[in-house]
Symmetry: C2
Subunit: 564 residues, 2 copies
């Protein structure tokens, strides 16, 4: 059996390795256009940020071996052709035409099964001046090495990043520092718009600004300017221009499907290659997987394009199994995406709130903040969780997390809940791990589920900080009750004529200080005391009372708006 795999990163090597385990005698050939195979492209921002010291580290296995042609030959009996471009597929004859880019030599490779693992390529927006030197996409090891060298020269004082997607933000975190000022442009109104709803994005934006990033939202770049040597030297906006010495374009990737299109294979609505559950294209003998193939979102049933190394590896395994005659299916995905930047662990899964509404769901959400470990344990951080559920059934539709604490652990549990069409009630009752280093006795995730259930049952009303921001624009009569302790309010004051400070412990005696008749919003640091306060005020007859979800931990991002 002859198997040709086009693409030597992630899916391709995974298909090859798995297939070799299942078949000692398959002839497996991997065709890769670049010089190297199987490198950790997800680590490029880490390399820029010096968390990965040497670029070679991204090319090694965990045992320290460089994954080169020889490595695949020796350890796996797999033939890897680097610097070799696949030019065309002859589906009739089951041949792939390839060219050795070093020698120019062309030849045909016969196949019984062909695997397209051609990946994705960076989108280069049609901005005038994009061709100048020192304008990079971060898509190859060479790009990363060149950017790092440029920064190390210490000749530039300012860098521009175009696009506040996860790569743009990771890169901003990696390169911003005392010597290098970074401006980040995003054409949409919030950061990581494909990942986070605007309310959760506020937390990231707040943190980025507090670290000195000049973040420009709703701000498309009109043009780049260059000097006489052809090096970029400026960014032109609507009413402003900025001097810069480096531009990194990170506006996303699109699937690389040239070969598939030429071969007449069907592409999906996302532009990626359409595949069935076996990862087969509409040619039975041609599979596609990884960043060039389309997936299905299990919650919306829609075709989506979510390029991810973990998906690529899972699909590689499925493809190898099918080629080896072990029928195997790749299921719909939850559309999980996570990243770490600016000390925050950030992620999402399932549907975002706008998408859930657009799909016709009667949506209920909660935003909760808590600690990831017991507060007396020396290492702990905050985690904010947004849950998105179907109101009546409580079925979980999606979730987003953000925090300095172990947010991703909670996201992984939520992903598992989604996989089983679980409800918020299912979360409340999970027998999750508890010990002081790992969780609070009521884990922040359980707390998030309980908060949503409390809203669902009408026990108390809450207000999301983002909703509150909108409401404040129209309604100036809202009275805020800050129930934090004196030392907390002194350390992190919120001031304004409509703010009444009454520590929770004094509220039972002093609640008559709060005027009746106006809407009341209670808040504390994380949310729990605001919750207690709202329950109490409701109990003593306040008609329109709610507590601020996530407390100051979320509201801090919006604080300027509070100073009415």
């Amino acid at each position: 059996m002859k198997v040709v795999i086009i693409g030597g990163v992630a899916t391709g090597p995974k298909v090859a390795a798995r297939l070799r385990r299942l078949s000692i005698d398959a002839e497996i050939t991997v065709v890769e256009k670049g010089k190297i195979v199987s490198y950790g492209s997800c680590g490029l921002p880490l390399f820029l940020g010096n968390l990965v010291p040497k670029i070679e580290d991204l090319m090694k296995t965990s045992a320290g071996l460089i994954r080169d042609t020889q490595y695949f030959e020796d350890t796996k009996g797999i033939n890897v052709l680097t610097q070799t471009e696949a030019l065309a597929i002859d589906r009739q004859q089951k041949k792939v035409r390839v060219r050795n880019l070093a020698t120019g030599e062309e030849r045909d490779l016969d196949y019984d099964h062909l695997v397209l693992a051609t990946g994705a390529k960076e989108v280069v927006p049609p901005i005038p001046g994009i061709q100048y030197q020192n304008v990079y996409t971060l898509h190859s090891l060479d790009d990363a090495v060149n950017i790092k060298a440029l920064i190390k020269e210490k000749k530039i004082q300012h860098a521009t990043i175009i696009g506040a997607g996860l790569i743009g933000i990771e890169v901003a975190d990696a390169i911003a520092g005392p010597r290098l000022k970074v401006t980040l442009f995003e054409s949409q109104g919030s950061v990581v718009p494909k990942l986070l709803d605007p309310d959760m994005a506020l937390l990231v934006e707040h943190k980025m600004r507090s670290r000195g990033i000049d973040l420009r939202l709703n701000c498309p770049v009109k043009e780049l300017t260059g000097d006489e040597d052809g090096k970029v030297n400026g960014v032109i906006l609507e009413n402003e221009s900025i001097t810069t010495g480096l531009v990194i374009v990170a506006v996303g990737v699109r699937p690389e499907v040239t070969l598939a299109r030429q071969a007449g294979l069907t592409l999906g609505i996302t532009g990626a290659i359409q595949v069935n559950q076996y990862m087969q294209t509409d040619d039975t003998y041609i599979y596609a997987g990884g960043d060039c193939a389309e997936q299905v979102n299990m919650l919306s049933g829609r075709q989506v394009f979510v390029p991810l190394a973990s998906t690529a590896n899972k699909q590689g395994r499925v493809i190898a199994d099918n080629i080896a005659g072990r029928a195997s299916e790749f299921p719909a995905i939850c559309a999980t995406s996570v990243f770490q930047a600016f000390e925050l662990n950030v992620g999402r899964t399932g549907l975002g709130e706008p998408e859930a509404r657009e799909l016709g769901y009667d949506v209920i959400t909660s935003l909760s903040t808590g600690l990831d470990a017991v507060h007396y344990y020396p290492v702990h951080g905050a985690v904010t969780i947004k849950l998105i559920a179907e109101r009546t059934s409580g079925r979980l539709l999606g979730a987003q997390v953000c925090g300095t604490g172990e947010a991703i652990k909670r996201l992984d549990v939520l992903i598992t809940i989604l996989r089983f069409n679980g409800t918020v009630k299912d979360i409340s009752n999970l027998d999750l791990s508890y010990a002081p280093p790992f969780a609070t006795a009521i884990d922040v995730l359980i707390h998030a589920a309980n908060t949503l259930e409390n809203k669902q049952l009408g026990i108390v009303d809450t207000v999301n900080p983002f909703e509150l921001l909108e409401r404040l624009k129209k309604d100036k009569s809202i009275i805020f009750v800050d129930v934090r302790e004196g030392d907390e309010t002194r350390a992190n004051p919120v001031e304004g004529s409509q703010i009444i400070v009454i520590p929770l412990g004094e509220l039972r005696k002093r609640y008559t200080e709060i005027p009746q008749g106006s809407p009341v919003v209670t808040f504390c640091e994380l949310g729990i005391r605001g919750y207690d306060a709202a329950c109490f005020l409701k109990g003593v007859g306040f008609q329109d009372v709610s507590f601020l979800e996530g407390g100051m931990s979320t509201w801090g991002a919006l604080q300027p708006a509070l100073n009415m």
Copy 2:
């Protein structure tokens, strides 16, 4: 509505707090025998180990408030009676007789609903000499303060811990050091026998011994001896005696049910109070929750006693809801337990392998080791996962984890899988979070599931290190093939006449050096290369070949046995 709650730690305060949120006018009284309420008893080992500097830290809320009587009165409108013992329940009259331990005054508290949250008490084994001074159980803040003071005096050189349950191990980690030698006695054959199967326990034992703990398994303590001042000074064993200056007894806890028993409430087979799904005892007006109440293991359907602060809090919420007229059920548990000690994160959920077999399941297991984050990310650690599944269906029955890496994150996902009666296949396909700081592209958990599936499908045979140890006792003909690289084998050599070292990359050329006819076990550092090697050797005709699950990372614990 009058509600009396007996017990002021975990369940009791939770019932009170939740009930207050649901009902502004319930009269809520908490009766607590001790001087303080609602402290973090789980943090006592952390206090001993100086990770929590002051004992008061265990008594504060995350906002820094001491949870005393005044706190509950002021912030929640809850009446807390400390130093007050509940003497008897009059179920007919719905009264509880209580005595103020400071004044001796007795009185009756009327109730509409009574909550028993009496917790658990330490088991004191009937060892002669147990009454000597400096023999402690670690069950109260006072115990912890006294032990720490004794150690700080620097007059003792040796401490004895009786019982290698999770508290015993946490305490050993906390107090062992250059100045204080620790001997830990366990009457059973492995550490944490209620948590871990013997194979997984080996990893903990190995780590403890490498940190200098004198660990004595299968070793019951016969007697303690004391000096003329009544202070403990020795431990007497079968054939040996040991000089010691401090003894900590940590042989477990049992439910405190005196009051329930006197009141004629039904106790379950575990000795804890029997409750229905609403947490009601057989008296409709009396609820019980937390460490005094029995639970049901959702996998075995059996009554179990798994005292845990997280369960206590969840049950408190359910009890409050039911009292407030919101019917709420507490489901069966997965029997999750976790701890952190000796730099290891350790945990379990569901059924252990022996219990699963005893229940009649046709069991298949896998033991896998991998990294918790991408190897080039600067912070990463290993995680070993044991999966226990039903062979034909692949249904997950239980799981155990251990490692310096983020093991508990993976356990939480497995707990969620158990909750939905999921299979190992469900794990393989989970769209878990991936980015270099959080996981490898094929997460260690996915890898564990894939390994089990490979065994299930007969793709390759594996051997568990513990099974191997047993097999080696009978079969001396096994040939080991160490496929690690030269620098790895030099750094961490395994030597013996039956060991052939052939790096994986040379195996395709050199496999003829391995004699045919004998059983072959391949191994590497974590397991993957051993797997590739076993697939290859099987492919070229070796009949009896398997790879070592978890590789050297698990085998290290058994290495002495390999030097045959």
